[in-house]
Each structure stands twice: as structure tokens, then as C-alpha cells.
């Protein structure tokens, strides 16, 4: 069975999704979702250990040999992404039961789980496939289910947010299809490895740079790089809490993975950065994202929206690392992929706890929560410290590598901006902390601590923040391997 893991990783949840819908019972559908996510987590971890031990895994779908058939390829980079996605998925599924009961009407709960599993399927599919058109198909699977998930939010503005995301997301996906088509015209192949072989011959044509451009715009739209982030804040704010936590820590990460895959594996670092000079676009945008979006975050009154803008800023960190196109820079970017999933997951999940008890995550409703919900707010504080980049949390490890990468290139002003971002993060995190700890709660509300089924997954992520902040050797090891592989310096 382990031979078929790459495909089972995707097929099992793909089958589970309609089952969850057909069972049409809140608890049973939930059980299916939990089982499916646990399976994917197991498969993801297994794949990661296999690829770290014995190199790249190739799997031919249906026995059709590549490049004609669709091939699944698992290397340290996408195994890493798979682990991130499945880990978050496996924590969100148990978390969702209580949270969703509060936020979604009962008749829609089975459909919620079906969409949730589908979204997971799509994200995993993007990660493991070695075929560019397959990427598009999975991208649409995850996106369409994400639109549905966001629209389930209890606020009616969730609908417009979802619609906005649908329009922008579809445009982005269509751009990606155009790029893929133009690449196919010139090379006659859709297999990633094959493309990487054939593209250099035709790189001087006009078509390939155009394809490159379409792909760049399409992917940056999906990963919400400033200024193509406009869909993100509303979507994160009004989606159900569990959905926000899931999408925030997985969807954009997978888009970042796509960026890496297209620009390093397929086009190659030389073409992307020396010929097309992608870094000249990415770096300024990333820096603007870090500063401007953190500033915007400071002025938010809705904590989920605040965290959403913070996400856009944090995506800037990842893209910044990538734009260095050096081993250190890529390591930093890939590391932050994981680290940011841990911290944002924890933060959004703690906000889900607040939503559950208080019914709102607006700042004025959070007075004195530090006392009323000590564990929830402690989780928020630790997650926030991680976001700031305090030592012994994962955020610090990311910063450590990012600043190092900047200094290595002699770009100390960039290093300065990275650290400035930390300080801005301090300001918006502390804004919440002050409300929760320095204002008196209204005793009549009688707010109590969130139930254990919400707190336990939240705290698992929080502990992950601390563990991988203190013992980062594993995560750094994988990220370095992936970075070296992308740059082709793997010995």
C-alpha cells in the first residue's frame, strides 16, 4: 500500500467528501472528516520520511508513463507542504465540530464537511502532482470549495466576500491556465520535469516570457501578494472561524509552493531571476506588503481582520525570502511557510474560541477576556509573540534566517525592514492584549472559558509554536534540503 501513498493521499479524501455529504448527518459527516484528515496526516508524514530517507518519489497515475500520463512527484519541498496542510487539517477537523455547530445552521453542516474535505483534497493535489494542468484542476477544486466554505459565514457580508474572492480567484486561475497553455504551445508537454528540460531551448522566444508573466500574476493573485491581496481580508474576516483558521494556514501556503515550483523547478532560477529579473518585482512588493499591511493591521477593530492583514504582511516575508533566490533566502521562505501556518493557525483558532463564547471578535467586545478566558487569551499571546518573533518561538527562527539572508547579500536596509515588521506586529498584537488584560469585563455577560474540544487543538498548535522554536533543527533541515534542491545545489 505504501507504494500507492502519493495517490491515496488525494483519493481517500476525494472519496470521503461525497460520503460526508451523502451521510447527511452532522456527527457522522464530522467523523468522516476527522478520519479523512487523520489519514492524510499519516500519509503526509509517511511521504515526508520516505522522501527524506530515499529521495524523490515518482508515482505514475494509472500506470501511464510520464510524460504522457499524469505523474505525482514527491520531493522534500512538497512533502513538507503536504505535512503542513494535513497537520492543520487534522487539527481543524476536531476543532470544527463545536465551532461549526455554533456558527453554521444544522442542515448545512454535512455540506460544510464535504466542502472542507474537498478543499483539503484540492490543496493536497496541487502539492503532489507533477503535471501543470493537473495543478489547475486541483486549484479549482480547492478554490470552489473554499468559496462555498467562506459563504457559510454567519454574517451576510460573508457572501459578498466569497463572491469577491470567486471573481478574483477565477481570474487568477484563468491566468494560470493561459500561462500553462502558452508553455504547452512551445514545448508540447505538461509534465513539470519535462517542461524544465525543454523550456531552456525555447526560452528566448516571446511566448515563454508572456507565459511567465501570466503565471506570475495568476499565482501572486492566489497567494495574495500585495497589491493583489484585496480578496483576502474580507474572506478571512467573515468566513466561519474554523474555515478562516484552515484557509489562512494552508491555502496561501500552497500558492507560495506553486510560486516556488513554477519559478525554480520549471523555469529555473536562472531564467526567473537573471533573465526575467523576477526579484525586482517581488522584493519591493514584499517589502511594501510587510510595512503597509502591518500598518493597516494596527488600525483594525476586528481582530480577525487584523490578523488577515497581518497574514498579507507575513506572506510578504515568505516572498521576500524567495526573492533573494539564495539557499539562505529560500530556506527562510520555506521555513516561514511552516512557521506562519503554526502561528496563524493558533491565532485564528483562539479567535474561534472567542467567537464561540462571545459571538464576536470585535475589540470592544473583548474587554477583560484575559480574565474570563485565560487559556484562550494565553494562546493568543503566545501566538502573537511568535508573530512578533520573540526568541524561543517559531517566528524568531524565521526572522533569524530572513535577516541572515538579507545580510548575506549586503542588503542591510532590507534586514531593517524585516525587523521593523516585527515591531509593527508588536503594535497590533499588543492592541489586542491591552484590551483583553487591561479593561474590565462586563460581569453580567458571564463569559466563561471555551470548551476543551476547541482549546485542545488550539493549544497543540501553540505548543508547536514553542517546540519548533526551541528545537528548529528538523524544520530547518527540511527547509534547507528543499531550498538546495530548488536551486540545484544538492550534492
Amino acid at each position: 500500500m505504501t507504494d500507492h501513498l502519493p495517490v491515496l493521499l488525494v483519493v481517500v479524501p476525494l472519496v470521503a467528501a461525497p460520503i460526508a455529504a451523502l451521510l447527511n448527518h452532522p456527527r457522522l459527516s464530522w467523523a468522516v472528516a476527522v478520519a479523512a484528515t487523520l489519514w492524510t496526516l499519516y500519509a503526509g508524514l509517511e511521504l515526508l520520511s520516505q522522501t527524506m530517507a530515499s529521495g524523490v518519489i515518482h508515482y505514475e497515475l494509472g500506470g501511464w508513463a510520464a510524460p504522457y500520463g499524469i505523474e505525482y512527484v514527491v520531493d522534500p519541498l512538497n512533502a513538507w507542504v503536504v505535512v503542513i496542510v494535513t497537520l492543520i487539517g487534522a487539527l481543524i477537523a476536531p476543532y470544527a465540530r463545536v465551532s461549526v455547530e455554533r456558527e453554521i445552521t444544522e442542515d448545512r453542516i454535512p455540506l460544510f464537511y464535504a466542502a472542507f474535505i474537498l478543499c483539503l483534497t484540492g490543496l493536497l493535489g496541487i502539492a503532489v502532482t507533477g503535471d501543470v494542468f493537473n495543478v489547475f484542476v486541483f486549484l479549482e477544486i480547492s478554490s470552489l470549495s473554499a468559496y462555498a466554505l467562506i459563504a457559510l459565514g454567519s454574517d451576510r457580508r460573508a457572501l459578498t466576500a466569497s463572491f469577491q474572492y470567486l471573481i478574483m480567484g477565477s481570474v487568477g486561475a484563468t491566468f494560470i491556465v493561459i500561462g500553462i497553455g502558452l508553455m504547452y504551445v512551445m514545448t508540447g508537454t505538461l509534465n513539470m520535469a519535462d517542461l524544465a528540460d525543454r523550456l531552456p531551448e525555447v526560452a528566448s522566444s516571446r511566448t515563454i516570457p508572456v507565459a511567465f508573466t501570466f503565471l506570475t500574476v495568476g499565482i501572486t493573485l492566489k497567494l495574495a501578494l500585495f497589491p493583489l491581496h484585496l480578496w483576502l481580508p474580507n474572506a478571512y474576516t467573515y468566513a466561519p472561524s474554523a474555515v478562516t483558521a484552515f484557509i489562512a494556514s494552508t491555502a496561501t501556503k500552497v500558492a507560495v509552493y506553486l510560486l516556488l515550483r513554477f519559478f525554480f523547478t520549471i523555469f529555473g532560477a536562472t531564467f526567473s531571476f537573471d533573465v526575467m529579473q523576477l526579484d525586482r518585482i517581488l522584493m519591493p512588493l514584499a517589502l511594501i506588503a510587510i510595512v503597509a499591511m502591518s500598518l493597516v493591521a494596527i488600525y483594525q477593530e476586528n481582530v480577525k481582520r487584523l490578523l488577515a492583514y497581518s497574514s498579507v504582511a507575513q506572506i510578504g516575508y515568505m516572498v521576500l525570502g524567495i526573492s533573494f533566490a539564495s539557499v539562505l533566502g529560500l530556506t527562510a521562505g520555506i521555513l516561514h511557510l511552516f512557521n506562519h501556518a503554526l502561528m496563524k493557525g493558533a491565532l485564528f483558532m483562539s479567535m474561534g474560541c472567542v467567537m464561540y463564547r462571545v459571538g464576536s471578535v470585535r475589540l470592544e467586545r473583548m474587554n477583560g477576556l484575559g480574565r474570563a478566558m485565560p487559556w484562550t487569551m494565553a494562546a493568543f499571546v503566545v501566538g502573537g509573540l511568535s508573530l512578533i518573533g520573540v526568541p524561543l518561538t517559531v517566528g524568531f527562527v524565521s526572522k533569524w534566517y530572513l535577516v541572515q539572508a538579507a545580510l548575506e547579500q549586503g542588503m542591510w536596509p532590507v534586514a531593517g525592514v524585516v525587523l521593523l515588521g516585527s515591531l509593527l506586529a508588536l503594535m497590533y498584537v499588543w492592541k489586542v492584549v491591552e484590551v483583553a488584560y487591561f479593561r474590565e469585563a462586563d460581569p453580567e455577560l458571564g463569559i466563561s472559558e471555551a470548551p476543551l474540544s476547541l482549546l485542545a487543538p488550539t493549544w497543540l498548535l501553540v505548543l508547536g509554536n514553542l517546540y519548533f522554536g526551541i528545537n528548529a533543527s528538523d524544520s530547518v533541515g527540511v527547509a534547507t534540503r528543499a531550498a538546495e534542491m530548488l536551486l540545484g545545489v544538492l550534492s
Binding site: 533569524w400 534566517y401 535577516v403 541572515q404 499588543w430 528545537n471 534547507t480
Partner: protein, 492 residues
Amino acid sequence: MIDTNLVVGVCLLLPVLGAFLVLVFGSRPNVREAATLLTGGLTFWHVWGLLHHVREGARPRLELLEIVPGVQLAFEVEPLGLLFALVASFLWIVTTLYAIGYMRGHHEKNQTRFFFFFAIAIAGALGVAFSANLFTLFAFYEVLTLCTFPLVTHHQTDEARKAGRVYLGILLTTSVAFQLLAIIWTWQLADTVDFTEGGILSGTASNGVLSAILVLFVFGVGKAAVMPFHRWLPAAMVAPTPVSALLHAVAVVKAGVFTVLKVAVYIFGIDLLGTLAATTWLAWIAAATIILGSLVAFQKDNLKARLAYSTISQLSYIVLGALLANEWGVIGGGMHIAMHAFGKITLFFAAGAVLVAAHEKDISRMHGLGRRMPITFGAFFIGSLSIIGLPPAGGSWSKWFLGMGTLEAGQVGLLAVLMLSSLLGLYYLLEVPVKAFFFRPPDDAQRGKGIKEAPLPSLIAIGITASATVGFFFWPDLWHELMSMVVSGVTQ
């Protein structure tokens, strides 16, 4: 007999254990305070035990784990760190004793939380003291910043919230923006961040780059309160007095100047430091802080605010000592960590005692109080002598060495600064006991009645630190010996 290397870990874990005992016994104050005292005593006993090994030349080392490849969370006990650890762990016991009297006498709320974070802060300070590399130091430096935040904002009032903002804002800003950058830069240049005798940066980059790193370090260590990054210290005075006494006269601020000294000696190395372009003008910034701090202290009527500015001024003595880049300066700076700690904590204890017993914060309202609280103001007098640098108080020794350092460096101007600052100190510190003893109390018949000395545990604490301050004038050998070991190891 357990392995000496493990003793290092025990020293760090004991305060954490104490913190959790505090939580467990939160509802029974007597047991809770006994637990703190007990762990404090054990901690000090273990740190003291390390002294013997360090004297024999051993450097107990404890490596925990590799955070990122090449960078470890590791501890190593060397004389300078031991000096700081001895001071901090000893004064923790005394301060706990004092706090028992103060917190109960003042009817403070949330005492369990108070003692909990207090113990964690001590663990942070010891972590800073024993850190074997810049990374570990930075980690514990930030732990110290964060766990003192709830102490500073203990009253949870609007004023506390604002002060907390300034406190955290300046300390985190400087440490993240400057210090961290300097650390990563060092790592980039030297491929190591371990504290090594003789420094690690020599010959790795141009004078200009190394100067830039030095500037980043000096300003990045916001806890050293070099102007213009000193505002957090007066802000922190909203905290209960024991916090101001131990943390903002000893643990936190000394962690700052300790970092500066440690970076100067073990990262740059004295020899390299002397050749850098930035060293001299940074020394003058420290000198400016000394004078300006004293001048501002002059104008403060609030006793704690005056003491805070006095601390700012005194901290720069130590920074200056490091930047003189010679043996005398380093010895003087290191000794001043201990001397100033004992002197200043006495002053804060006295200030807190006045607050508890007489409910007075302002110096102008302390006329005549000396007659009712002779022990308190007597101790204040002794502490003042030490800060000013007059015999018979320990501070005279460190000032002496610092003065020698300025001459050695050929900076007569800096010597003049030290003199001037002492003169200013003479006025702004001695004004308090003089007014308390020799001025007539106001003719308000109601006021002053029933004012007695502070609660007994507090008085004992004041007595201990005041006697120690005098004692160190006659027996400064311990501190001098430790600092000599630092310097002799470096210059060999």
C-alpha cells in the same frame, strides 16, 4: 555530589520551580512566601557553590539543544556572569523578605501573580548571566522583558497600561531592531556567536562595519538605558516598589549593562574595542547620559522618579567602563554592577518603606520623617554614600577603578564627568536624609501621628543591604577577584 555542569541547570530551574510552587500555594500566603524564600535560598546556595569551581579555573558548561544548526541554547559560567548571578540571586532573597512586608502592608492585589512573575524574572536574569552565546543571552533577555511586563503593569490601571507601552515598546524595539540585527550580523561575520575570551570579531570586517555593530549593540541593549533609550526606566516606576527595587535597580538594568560588558569583553575583545572609531564617541554618549541623568534626577520631587534617573546615570558608568577598553574600566564597570546594586536597592527599599509607613512619595513632604523612621533614613544615607562613591561605602571602590580607567585611556574629560556627576549626586541624594532628619515637620498636627517604621520583614531587608553596602567597602575582594579573573583571562 552532582556534576557541576548540572548545577548550572539547577540554578536556572530552581526559580522556575519556585514560580510554580507560588502558583500551587497561591491561596495560602504564608506557605507561598515560604516557598519563594526557600527556593531563593537554594538558588543562592547553588550559585555560591559554583564560585568555588570558577575560582579554580573551571567553567561549568551546560548545553541543552541546538535551536537552529550551529546555534545552541547553552550556558557557561564565567566570572563576570557569576558576579551578576551572585548579586541577583542574593538580592532576590532579600527582596522577597522585603516584599512580604511591603505587599501586605500596602494591601496589594494579585500577590500570587506578582510572586510568580517575580520568580520567572529571576530565572530570566540568571539565564542572561550564565548564557554561553549571544543567542541564549538574547533569548533570556527577551524573557526578562516580557515577564517583567505584568509586574510593571501590576496595578492594571490606565497609567500602568501607558507605562507598560513605553516599557515594552522601547525595550522590544531596541532589542529587536538593533540588538538582534547586531547578533545576526556577528553570526554572519564570525560564524559563531559564542562568548570567547579575546573576542570573536577581530579581523572579520572593516573598522567601519565593526563600529556599526558596536553602535547597534550599545543602543540595542535598551536595558542599559543609554540615552536616548532611557525613557522606559522612569516609566517602569509605576510598579510596586519591590519590583522597582530588584528589577529596575538590579536584575533588569544590570542584565543590560552586563550584556554590554559581556559583548565588549567576549565578542569584541578589549584590544579590538580600543581601535574602533565608534568607541570613543559612544563613551561620550555614555558620559552625556551620566550628566543628563543626574541633572534630571535633580528636578524630580517624586522619590522613585529621582532614583530612576539616578539609576540611568549610574548605569552609564558601567557602559562607560566597558567602552574605556582597558582593564581598569572593565574591573570598575563589573564591580559597579555589584556595588550599585546593593546601594540602589537600599535606596529603593527605603523609598518603599516610606510609602508604606507614611504614604509619602514626594521628597518635599518628607520633612522630619527621619525622626520617626530613623532606620529607614539611616539606610538611605548609607545607600546614597555608595552611589555617590564616598567611603565608607562599597561604591567608592568601583568609582575609583573607573576613574583609573579614564586616566589610563587618557580621557581626562571623562574623569571630570565622573567627578561632576558625583557632586550632583551629593546634592540630589543627600537632600532626602537631610530633609528627613534636620528639617522641621510641617505644622500639621494631624499629620505624622502614628507613623512608625516599616513592617519588620522590610526593615530586616533594608538592614541587610545597608550593612552589605558598608561591608563591601572593607571587603570588596570577592568582586575584585572575579573581575580580575575576567580581565586576566582576556589580556593573556
